[in-house]
Symmetry: C2
Subunit: 319 residues, 2 copies
């Protein structure tokens, strides 16, 4: 492997001059610059990134902590982060966790080892307390409304669900259920909080069994329909936190002859293209923007206030 010293020798200059040329620093006489460039060409020189990283104490690489790579939601977040990162000359290193705490902690370890310059947590498995010992002096961005952290960007899920409740209320619904991905995690908790607050404000009663957990995929949505059918008292409307799930519900309802929205209204989230295909009324959630803002927060030096992203209702035919 040819290095900067060999270039210097061949060009008849010092290594610092070579370094200056390579990094486009000023104060190099044109003739020497040319000699260096010629030597680089002749020896087929490529600079070693790891040496640069070590010397600079920086890698221009950001770690993304993410549970899965094959879900539309996370794909869109990634796309947002990657697009913004590219603009600033950064690359992404993926730390896929499957929501395993160990895997998540490993990402923090890598951060402390300076393998990456910072971390974006697209979703989180560990408690903040478990993470805190590894966070001092680091640059970590959270994609949730987590109190006690400096950098965060999140969708205003609480407000969105409350708005959803209001909308259903105005359509005459009083028996409302909720389909949700998981019950832990700030984003989910905020949704659930909005759900109960909304119910209380409107004087609804929420029945046991009207909250459906672990709903993330099309298949999960199809199964919800069966569960809904087997209920004694059934909600007349469902707030569903993913268009994938909603699509599963709508499709399965179609097969079973359940009329939507007459027998069951659906108010969904994401405004994913699939919601258009199924004519599902859905809140647009700026997921890609979430990723973009997360990266911008990473770049920020000074502490900045949380970035809050709002949702927008797209009315179609399931409510």
């Amino acid at each position: 492997m040819t290095n900067i010293r060999e270039i210097a020798r061949l060009a008849g200059v010092s290594v610092s001059t070579v370094s200056r040329v390579l990094n486009e620093h000023p104060y190099v006489r044109e003739e020497k610059r040319r000699r260096v460039l010629a030597a680089v060409e002749e020896l087929n020189y490529i600079k070693n990134a790891n040496a640069v990283h070590l010397s600079k104490g920086k890698t221009y690489c950001i770690g993304v902590v993410i549970p899965f790579l094959n879900l539309p939601y996370f794909g869109e977040v990634l796309q947002g982060i990657a697009g913004e990162a590219l603009k600033h000359g950064y690359h992404l290193k993926i730390f896929q966790t499957n929501y395993e705490k160990e895997a998540e902690l490993d990402a923090f370890h890598r951060l402390r080892m300076k393998e990456v310059d910072g971390l974006i947590l697209a979703s989180r498995a560990n408690s903040l307390e478990a993470l805190q010992p590894f966070m001092e002096g680091t640059n970590v961005v959270f994609c949730e409304n987590l109190s006690g952290v400096e950098k965060k960007v999140f969708i205003n899920h609480y407000e969105a669900v409350r708005t959803a409740m209001d909308h259903l209320h105005s359509k005459g619904h009083k028996d409302i259920g909720l389909c949700i991905h998981r019950t832990f995690g700030t984003n989910s908790e905020e949704r659930v909080r909005g759900f109960f607050d909304g119910a209380e404000a409107a004087g609804y009663k929420i029945q046991d069994g009207w909250i459906f957990n672990d709903c993330i995929s099309l298949q999960d949505g199809r199964e919800v329909v069966g569960q809904w059918e087997s209920l004694g008292e059934r909600p007349s409307a469902l707030i569903v936190t993913s268009d994938q799930v909603s699509a599963g519900i709508v499709s399965q309802a179609g097969r079973k002859g359940i009329s939507i929205p007459d027998e069951l209204a659906i108010l969904s989230f994401d405004n994913h293209p699939i919601s258009e295909v199924f004519d599902i009324t859905s809140f647009d959630v700026p997921i890609r923007q979430l990723g973009e803002e997360a990266f911008k927060l990473f770049l920020k030096e000074e502490p900045s206030s949380p970035v809050i992203l709002e949702t927008t209702l797209f009315e179609r035919k399931t409510m």
Copy 2:
């Protein structure tokens, strides 16, 4: 930042002993090992990954060259690579290209800079000739049947499309169209080749306008229906290379009162969950396995023969 030398000093040993302890090498007396570990604890020492990378000439990181992150196909490939990589202590660095040649070349540059130990090309924008100058002595895996490269894994698209043609033939179809993502790229070319070979073998005639390009999303599928309708002579069946597109077609056909499969049969690819929802007959394509095999090829030292993955038909109701 505390380094290995400080640890050595505090523990009263040499740096090599510290290194041995840290890397679990043998031949360290238990007492010294303990002293080192105590010093590590006391100074809160974390080893610097970049120094290790530089010294070892290895990063345990593999680059993945990929056009988009938010498409189901590529999400699944990523998931496959990441899962296998994790097993072997590797991480993924993402080089998102949007199919821009420059961005793709940049990935090769990073490889030569030793920023990553190898590259997996999930999909390719440059010609092999354009890439070749940057490939000597490197470890690159292609996810396509590209002649002239050492490491490759690919789906047998040719055979799959030929089988598809046979199936449609046996159902009485003679006018067959093709929906495809793009026309360049080996995978697409193989499909097109299978399409024309199949037609020729069965004595079909393929009309102009029966090949629909740029079909990748749900929305694209919906638009295909309009194009199909405006055709003078229409194919009675469509081979569609993505379930997303098929779902768009089926859904749009439903709205327009076009009967599937009577007026238009659909034979799709991927066996994505969405094909189950829409009851679409689809070839299962082992996409995740593609990713896994790609990573295994990366690890292989000796040259190995291409890995060829076959598809499996799942019959449902669109044919």
